[in-house]
């Protein structure tokens, strides 16, 4: 951008005479990036090759591994599904070598879709999934209310020394394959399909209450994303899937990077937008579509008839400034129009980041991970940091409370605060064992704190989150009890500043 050599004019009229840049023979039918023209067959080859190259380069998917494909019904994830199908149907040496399953999360309850709409889209997707012949799971988001607390505990990633390296594993598999027959392999794939789209009315009500207690769309989207991840993680663990493939495209990831910066998720940027996301330990999230721009995916699905279903989400038909994510999307898209290298530049930036791992990540207690997003806590109060400045501002703008470390519930907004300031981080009132904002905040990373801050009532959170929060809180209190309580408590509340007000 703003480069001297960039020159974007005069291409539209020349499309008719343009030759494919690869084979130089066929007439070009589309242009991707700035001026790369492709004919139909070369484009298909290019598309397929990119997928396989992405998997091959990163070498994280081992042969015979069970991989869950997270499909939302949109073009990107359906293209990913078709690529996997394509890859599995090839001749022996070039065949993709893993066992796929499909998962679709029906989040209509959070997005406000009616039961008929949900059934309709579920049926459409079911027909697409049965076509592929893979195992599939259609799960409704309401299931989140019956999740166990183990979802919030990262599993160990098995550093078993007997595990072979990638190359050895592939060689081993090829040798074994020659003795296996085709039927044995195929029968492993045809397993029980789960369509768990039924949900109880209490759960439905609970989900509606949860989302209506979030005041801003930004917080809703964040919470939806978190809950979806938890559900996918749970299904993957239950059914023995060690990898999950997400269909995030390059454009989507560029938007995600920028909006995560705006949300305060700088520490976890690499896991959120990189190729692999190891934060859950035993289940690794991979993003094989991260090299494809939305334009390429759209052209491919159009030209090669990839079946997809449009399902409206939380931010469909909202205006530009409805939420941070929506704003970032329109910003990047508009900027991309004037400066066509924007998305690829942002993508390249994301490749140069990495997540800081704490020194002993294997033995770290779960308490040092965020309760909701399971990334390492980034709320260590460095002396000169933005976080420290925020705490200072909060403190300076409010009347000093007697003992701000006392836990206080946020049961309902009406019961709190006589000063009329609202029940914010200051806390007030009597004590009860439901988690208050104050309790939860200490267990969350910076941006999850912001999401919870936008919640009116934290008791609408699913039970597994509340139980795990209480457990961690109790563990922390026991720790406090064993060490000197009053000294540590002072430090915990970060009230190191002794200020005197002018009268």
């Amino acid at each position: 951008m703003c480069q001297v050599e960039e020159d974007y004019n005069g291409l539209e009229s020349e499309l008719n005479n343009l030759c494919c840049m690869k084979c130089k023979e066929g007439t070009a039918v589309l242009i991707i990036r700035v001026n790369d023209a492709f004919c139909r067959s070369c484009f298909k080859e290019y598309f397929i090759h990119k997928f396989r190259a992405m998997l091959g380069k990163n070498r994280v998917i081992f042969p015979q591994e069970k991989v869950l494909l997270a499909v939302s019904g949109g073009t990107a994830s359906c293209s990913m599904l078709s690529q996997v199908q394509e890859g599995l149907s090839r001749e022996a040496p070039k065949k993709l070598r893993f066992v796929p399953g499909i998962i679709y999360i029906d989040d209509g309850g959070a997005c406000g879709r009616s039961a008929e709409e949900r059934q309709r889209s579920n049926a459409l997707l079911k027909s697409i999934f049965t076509e592929t012949g893979f195992t599939y799971f259609i799960v409704s988001l309401e299931q989140v209310f019956s999740l166990p607390t183990s979802v919030l505990v990262p599993g160990t990633s098995d550093p078993d020394p007997s595990n072979p390296s990638y190359k050895q594993a592939v060689d081993q598999y090829i040798k074994e394959k020659q003795t296996l027959t085709e039927e044995n392999v195929a029968s492993a794939v045809a397993q029980l399909n789960i369509e768990d789209s039924a949900y109880s009315p209490e759960h439905k009500l609970a989900l509606e209450r949860l989302f209506s207690s979030m005041k801003t769309l930004t917080a809703k989207e964040d919470m939806l994303q978190t809950l979806r991840q938890h559900l996918i993680l749970h299904i993957a663990r239950e059914n023995g899937y060690s990898k999950v493939m997400m269909g995030d495209s390059c454009s989507r990831l560029a938007v995600k990077l920028l909006s995560n910066i705006a949300l305060g998720r700088g520490a976890a940027l690499a896991s959120d937008t990189g190729f692999s996301d190891p934060r859950y330990g035993d289940v690794v999230i991979v993003r094989p579509m991260r090299d494809y721009s939305s334009k390429e995916i759209a052209f491919y699905s159009r030209m090669f008839n990839v079946p997809s279903v449009f399902i409206s989400g939380l931010d469909t038909k909202t205006h530009d400034k409805a939420s941070i994510q929506r704003l970032t999307e329109s910003f990047v898209t508009n900027l991309q129009f004037d400066f066509p290298s924007t998305v690829s530049t942002i993508y390249r930036t994301s490749e140069k980041l990495h997540t800081v791992m704490p020194p002993q990540s294997q033995t770290a207690e779960p308490a040092s991970k965020c309760l909701l997003c399971l990334c390492t806590l980034d709320t260590k109060v460095d002396k000169a940091s933005a976080f420290h400045a925020t705490l200072v501002s909060e403190q300076l703008s409010q009347i000093k409370l007697q003992d701000p470390s006392l836990d206080a519930p946020a049961q309902s907004a009406e019961q709190c605060c006589t000063e009329g300031q609202g029940c914010g981080p200051g806390g007030c009132c009597s004590s009860n064992r439901l988690p208050s904002h104050q309790d939860l905040k200490t267990l969350l990373c910076y941006s999850c704190r912001l999401t919870i801050k936008d919640m009116v009532a934290t008791n609408t959170l699913p039970p597994y989150i509340i139980t795990e929060a209480e457990k961690r809180q109790k563990r922390w209190e026991i720790l406090l009890h064993n060490l000197n309580i009053s000294f540590i408590k002072k430090k915990k509340c970060c009230h190191l500043l002794t200020l005197s007000k002018p009268e």
């Binding site: 951008m1 703003c2 480069q3 001297v4 050599e5 801003t216 930004t218 920028l258 995560n260 910066i261 705006a262 949300l263 305060g264 998720r265 700088g266 520490a267 940027l269 690499a270 400034k321 939420s323 941070i324 704003l327 970032t328 910003f331 900027l335 004037d338 924007t342 530049t345 942002i346 390249r348 930036t349 140069k352 980041l353 990495h354 997540t355 800081v356 980034d378 002396k383 000169a384 940091s385 933005a386 976080f387 400045a389 925020t390 200072v392 501002s393 300076l396 703008s397 409010q398 009347i399 000063e419 009329g420 300031q421 910076y446 941006s447 912001l450 500043l497 200020l499 007000k501 002018p502």
Partner: protein, 347 residues
């Protein structure tokens, strides 16, 4: 029903803090604002006792508020600093000459010594002349690079220990966003430090005491304290790329006011992979200023201007640096690429 100040609870609230949303009365707001800057200075250890500090003063709201607050805090908490004002004249008619009058008034109001350095005397070019040659796009590069060197040169002439500038939270957040959009990893990890590194001779450290102060609060402070400042935009700024980042940031702030600090927090907590190529700090072989290439940026830009090839500093022409150093003439093809294009703005 009148709202009471959430801090003293006695007086009526007159404003709502953009940063936290609390309602405060005037005095509590002044106190909170000044106190936060004091905490920033103390916790980051920006200054030492007995140092001479130059305040980069442009006459705009940020530098006026900075000068005022520094003076107040210096007296209130006895920092023991001796302060003076340093101003840069870029030679933009209708903008800079008016704001310089404001700085001269500030000098009298705050009783601080003032020094003005100008592009004309340092480089032989004013911004107006530069824009005539370069065009309306890419001229912020010239101004910014030249200004930074001008500040350093002025500070060296005055023999100060530190320079402080009025960059506020919005500026830092915009810079972070811009660096992500441009893919500038090196700047991304440097731009959030509150103070530049102070190693190497000839490099006077620069710091940003207002780093965590919102622009809106600075405006409120200046308004309620009735400070004298100049409030017009630079006439060349509408075409800058930074405008996009700024508009985005303003929209973010309207959705969630804490976004500005959140962006700064993100940039402080992100980390770069090892093995990513980073520039190494050296010195310019022509003027001796700090530089990561053989020639520092302002020497390259100046060379381009003087030869009538203004695009020399814009875009990537590292290979040509060697030629320029050796004073060789450039080939015709290279010259053609570097000449100004007649109209290169998409207005």
């Amino acid at each position: 029903m009148p709202v009471q100040c959430s801090n003293c609870v006695q007086r009526r609230a007159v404003l709502k803090r953009p940063k936290t949303g609390h309602s405060l009365c005037k005095d509590c707001f002044f106190w909170a604002f000044e106190e936060e800057i004091h905490q920033t200075i103390v916790s980051a250890g920006l200054f030492n006792r007995g140092e001479t500090v130059a305040i980069g003063a442009s006459g705009g709201k940020d530098s006026t508020v900075l000068a005022h607050v520094m003076k107040v805090l210096n007296e209130r908490y006895d920092y023991g600093l001796s302060l003076l004002l340093l101003s840069v004249d870029e030679g933009i008619t209708g903008y800079r000459d008016d704001s310089l009058e404001t700085v001269k008034r500030n000098q009298q109001q705050y009783e601080l010594p003032l020094k003005i350095v100008s592009y004309e005397e340092l480089y032989g070019w004013t911004m107006d002349a530069i824009v005539k040659q370069v065009g309306l796009k890419n001229n912020c590069t010239f101004c910014g690079v030249f200004r930074r060197q001008a500040l350093d040169r002025g500070a060296m002439m005055l023999k100060v220990d530190k320079i402080c500038t009025g960059h506020n939270a919005d500026d830092v957040a915009e810079t972070v966003l811009m660096n992500v959009l441009r893919g500038d990893i090196a700047r991304l990890c440097r731009c959030t430090s509150i103070s530049t590194a102070s190693d190497g001779e000839g490099a006077i450290p620069r710091c940003k005491p207002l780093k965590y102060a919102y622009e809106k609060e600075i405006v409120l402070y200046a308004y309620f304290k009735k400070l004298d400042y100049f409030s017009t935009e630079c006439i060349y700024s509408p075409n800058a790329y930074r405008g996009h980042a700024r508009a985005f940031l303003k929209d973010l702030e309207s959705i969630r006011p804490s976004s500005i600090i959140d962006v700064i927090h993100s940039s402080e907590t992100l980390s770069i992979k090892e093995g990513v190529k980073m520039p190494v700090q050296g010195t310019c072989s022509r003027c001796g200023y700090i530089s990561s290439q053989a020639l520092c940026k302002s020497c390259v830009l100046l060379e381009g201007l003087n030869r009538g090839l203004p695009k020399l500093g814009i875009g990537k022409h590292h290979r040509l640096h060697g030629k320029i150093l050796a004073q060789e003439p450039l080939t015709e093809q290279e010259e053609k690429k570097l000449k100004p294009v007649n109209c290169n703005c998409r207005l």
